[in-house]
Subunit: 354 residues, 4 copies
Amino acid sequence: MAGNTFGKNFTVITYGESHGAAIGGVIDGCPAGIDIDLEAIQYDLDRRKPGQSKIVTQRKESDTVQFYSGIFEGKTTGTPIGFQIVNENQKSKDYSHIKDTFRPSHADKVYEDKYGHRDYRGGGRSSARETASRVVAGAIAKQMLSQIKVTAFTSSVGDIFIDKPYQALDFSEIENNIVRCADPVTAKAMEERILQIRKEGDTIGGTITCVVQGVPAGLGEPAFDKLHADLGKAMLSINAVKGFEYGSGFCGAKMKGSEHNDLYNTDGSTKTNLSGGIQGGISNGMDIYFRVAFKPVATIMQSQETINSNGDIVEMQGKGRHDPCVVPRAVVIVEAMAALVLADHFLRARTSKI
Amino acid sequence: MAGNTFGKNFTVITYGESHGAAIGGVIDGCPAGIDIDLEAIQYDLDRRKPGQSKIVTQRKESDTVQFYSGIFEGKTTGTPIGFQIVNENQKSKDYSHIKDTFRPSHADKVYEDKYGHRDYRGGGRSSARETASRVVAGAIAKQMLSQIKVTAFTSSVGDIFIDKPYQALDFSEIENNIVRCADPVTAKAMEERILQIRKEGDTIGGTITCVVQGVPAGLGEPAFDKLHADLGKAMLSINAVKGFEYGSGFCGAKMKGSEHNDLYNTDGSTKTNLSGGIQGGISNGMDIYFRVAFKPVATIMQSQETINSNGDIVEMQGKGRHDPCVVPRAVVIVEAMAALVLADHFLRARTSKI
Amino acid sequence: MAGNTFGKNFTVITYGESHGAAIGGVIDGCPAGIDIDLEAIQYDLDRRKPGQSKIVTQRKESDTVQFYSGIFEGKTTGTPIGFQIVNENQKSKDYSHIKDTFRPSHADKVYEDKYGHRDYRGGGRSSARETASRVVAGAIAKQMLSQIKVTAFTSSVGDIFIDKPYQALDFSEIENNIVRCADPVTAKAMEERILQIRKEGDTIGGTITCVVQGVPAGLGEPAFDKLHADLGKAMLSINAVKGFEYGSGFCGAKMKGSEHNDLYNTDGSTKTNLSGGIQGGISNGMDIYFRVAFKPVATIMQSQETINSNGDIVEMQGKGRHDPCVVPRAVVIVEAMAALVLADHFLRARTSKI
Amino acid sequence: MAGNTFGKNFTVITYGESHGAAIGGVIDGCPAGIDIDLEAIQYDLDRRKPGQSKIVTQRKESDTVQFYSGIFEGKTTGTPIGFQIVNENQKSKDYSHIKDTFRPSHADKVYEDKYGHRDYRGGGRSSARETASRVVAGAIAKQMLSQIKVTAFTSSVGDIFIDKPYQALDFSEIENNIVRCADPVTAKAMEERILQIRKEGDTIGGTITCVVQGVPAGLGEPAFDKLHADLGKAMLSINAVKGFEYGSGFCGAKMKGSEHNDLYNTDGSTKTNLSGGIQGGISNGMDIYFRVAFKPVATIMQSQETINSNGDIVEMQGKGRHDPCVVPRAVVIVEAMAALVLADHFLRARTSKI
């Protein structure tokens, strides 16, 4: 019950701290017989890794994943898939200055309150480094879901946002810019904003939009494990996420039923899709789309007052190599978590009927 | 894996369809020794029940809960608590007209796709009637969490919203108006809007804000079961919910780190609370607050085109007694789900340290 | 985590105490589209109910089950199946004499130690009355597993046992005698033994053998959820069970590999079946068979010394209507639990391959 | 749901195949603040490892465990503990001869049936090599349970058995002989029997007895997760186990209630302990003891007929280095699984009362 496992049928458990020897995980419940493309997994990891462009942290990690089990002669065997990524950047430097100091809007103090004893180096377990393991699991989930296409992209940085519906965007543009924005013009403005923010020693929030296409009808369970409820939990479990909305989202709360209802075509598809591809928690075959809000990274390169474990006020000067905006690297994490949810419900749906 | 259970340590499973003989559930993992106030449970049910005011559905259900186990001589015994609410309004009328017709933006068609065989009467399992069972379980969770105060209220109806922070509101006003808005003036405007919408045969969306006070530091688990991730899932599992945000939420995505960080006071509390009482998924002792978006009810009293199971276009005239706005009755459901999440994490936190 | 749910995909939770208003449960994960034969369910309940013959307790309970959800027009709908059995025999008599007295080899004292507050009437939650709910769920599991035949029978009472392999028995004899022994001659001896034991005011133990035929190959999971491990847990969770063995069982521990190995026929079946139909935790298509040991009922009609909650020695005279031997009524419980395990693994096996 | 995780609050997932690069696992739910003795963990691994004496397989594996997370400055941190053991003995030899041949009483064929695609080298996932990961997790569980002492020993090999109750044995003798028998004289006979069996190219079964002392009252849950039910499942999940009994076990099935009941002393302990330290599934503070039956190892050094994947009869000559009797190396596995069950219920019991 310690919260390090995700999923019920297709599951992943992750382990590892920011500055331990390695991070990794175990995928369980992945069916046998899936052809595994190791390069595609590493490609996703590379989209998340530090140092990939001038707008992300300049830390260096190759983030190479190694598999130990569950894959044999290129195919999954149905047994658990153990994997690991060595932490290359864990220098044996002195962390005593943060041992007893609680950084503002970080998890330092709550870990101390909860556990009494914590690995304080670089955030320990609370570091977003853990999400590399999610990317590995998500990449395998994507390979299982060969008919389903999961696409995430940066839809806003600060107050700069794409002002078009996703249907008007060319997803092939996403990897053509370092912000991973699906609109090239907006991407340019976002990139400039992030560079300026970094120059200020500050950070900035943003949003990611994710579109899932090719989902068969019938995924998701009634009551508590609604498909969008599990998607929401998955997204909210990513570091720095503050909000989730799908389909019409918060805008839908301002609408009338006569505006919001999606009328049917004779083939069972709907003329509009304010529902976001999910009815009553169950996929209806239309595109699923949702939006995820990320707060600005808490580590800023400015001086801040904070407290230490004695409750004394201390001055803290941000240092190290951190992301001025987490969103460009989080795009692939959003995709990974979406894929994990869909893989889980894909398997769960196999037992709906006798 | 069928999604009808919520929670890991403090759990509830619900059963029952809209027009079956009864709905009910089983609460498991509730510790022994809690004094149970049955009137407080019924009070919460009454806040959810139909027919309670002129702005909600006029269906009549007394929604009286009966308990069968797990409570003895006024106290919980630590064994499962079985309970039931009889469906009084399930008339043996003819439902054949909806048997083969799929209502727009309802779950009729996805249930048919998923299960092949469904109870089509009144939405069956997909009806929000199921949430009455959640209210029962949530009311018991509240009684377990005697130090924690969960307060939800209507914060917007359509485009009418409270334009004050929750700290400026008097929560004792909430039950003084039938909209359950914490601001009396805004409440009046909301009520008028809902009455007008009903006159139009239409429905309207809205938002609910929830504030949780008195939460001890240390609730919530790292990685996937972050406290706000479980709160988000809980809220998104409520019928008609389209979005969830906590603390700074979607606004936080527009902010800079230097604006967003919550600096510490020497007692470990924070000067601001954009974090929303949770850091790294773990409660920090500050107020937890979040906002939930509800779409407009899909059943409108207007004529709509839709399809039947043959894919023919058919005209459908809304009838029956439905809510013009779901939000006033959903306030207590939001509270119940929040209480269930907190109760679960309250127990889970007992094993963090040796 | 309170242990009242069984299964992972096909699950049942039970609630209820011996002398509460009712017992019941919820089956979740049962696929849609199964034809439900209500009489077959009641038939199994009747095989478990008290008062059915002269060798079982003479308490009177009709044990009529009522269903509330999940079954519509004679078929399962895929939604949770809520059911209940009213406790008819819960007289409002005075239980104060057992409130503070701990009966030997009963759970009275451990419940007091564990929970502080307990329903002491008739054993409360620890009473075998709870198993009636298991019989309901098991009967539905049997109907799901239409190709699989689960047959249990009394194989020993005290030191009287059937001295033939199960293949030499005629299972149609089982319900022809009140002991539910598959061998008519042994049945007669067992019946006499039980009657004599009752006359002595004593009780006696026994064993039940269960044979499962028609199991497809491939049910069961590697490592921890081996099919026989789940069968073992299921059986050991039945009141009064002290041991479980399958296939060669404890005798196998005395054998050599050259004697124990089951050699293959060319069709993949095996010439012998010391393995008991399971290899490496996974069914191989041969008969599964196992044996379950039940201790003698702890309530005897003799005077015993025991202690009260003050630690004083008190004299206790057994009274009431209790089973002299639990085995005849437990046969159907063994079947029910076996069916639940198989139903669960039947669904789980659907996700082994892509 | 793939069965590779054990436990609910204190959990372990294992991964790895016999001849993959490594095996390992993740322990989750271990509380923070436990002092970890790495040598004690390695000591337990050494008791399981091959090549340790002349009566076990002569394969060579150092079985050195490496930890990656969850332990910091010598103490657990409450975060998941990832660990790994490199497979040193996985030679790149040719396995094609067993690729398509199904060894009698092995899991080769059922894996093929279940998964279609399997790692056939050395048994793959079905190999008992997986249990090394259990020993690691169990050793940590033991360190958490500092007041509880878990002791297992060989109680029979073939028809040679210890004919004394465990109370008459000196547990300090167990590690003084290579059979791990608690009685030195019997140990000698067992050792000779195993050596002779090996000379014959055969194998032999045996039993292990386990005694758990110092268990507080109140561990275990009613209904399905009875303490002995979870112990039984844990033991039955160990490779080659065919039976489990606790307390009076199968002998109890022959007894009368007047013989079997454990009468109380005034301090709440019992004069006898046929119950085996558990009442109604909950520990009562007395010693818990149980017995586990192991079949003879299926791989024998004799010629056997078997079939290949075409269904042809083929001659198979046992080769390689295998255990003539699995029991001496399984003693520590039994202890590990018992410790895992107790650790899990130790944590679960923390939420029994408010």
